[in-house]
């Protein structure tokens, strides 16, 4: 597995956390929640390829 994907997901997580913190401090909690959800979805989408590879590997391993 390429380490770049891990670094990308970490960067997305850190940026989402900072953005959420800034928004909560300025009193916009609802936008902070939306940004958190968007960050989560972006990270999941980035991981999708890796999850599909894992699924294919498991299928080949257990001959399913």
């Amino acid at each position: 597995m390429d380490i770049a994907i891990i670094l990308k997901i970490a960067a997305v997580g850190i940026i989402t956390a900072i953005a959420t913190m800034l928004l909560k401090r300025s009193g916009r909690e609802e936008i902070a929640t939306v940004v958190s959800v968007v960050g989560l979805v972006v990270a999941l989408v980035m991981m999708l390829d890796v999850i599909v590879q894992l699924y294919d590997t498991l299928r080949a391993l257990f001959d399913l």
Binding site: K8, V12, I15, A19, R28, M46
Partner: protein
Amino acid sequence: MTDIIVILACSACGFAIGKYFERRIRGKARFFDDLNRYAALFRVNVQGRQLEADLFNSQFAENCGKEFGAYLNGGKPVCALNAAEKHLLEDFFNCLKAVSSAELLKQMDIYSQRFGELSAKYTAEAGKAAIFPKLGALLGAMSGIVLI
């Protein structure tokens, strides 16, 4: 190297978009602040010097923000107003054509209160608008990271 350029370019775009939204909110705050001042000074004008409305408007337009100045000169608000606010503005400027000064002063009191509330509301929002460029830069950087 290309990756860094993509991330920087996306951050810059995000920053520019945030800056645009910040300017929009500050412009709206300036508009309602000027409108509040206009109502107060017009009231003083009715009670005192009683200048013609056109002359009063042209004098006021020279000393106010460009958003309200453009509205006084052109009749169309340059900042984004919702339907209720546009309706309020139209009603206010229609009531300035009232026949008696007593009726006009009564109407001015009602509108001044509403303008004061709107001015306070948008001034508070403008105070929080400084976050938009930072947020734009962060979300732009995030988009750049996703794209690389």
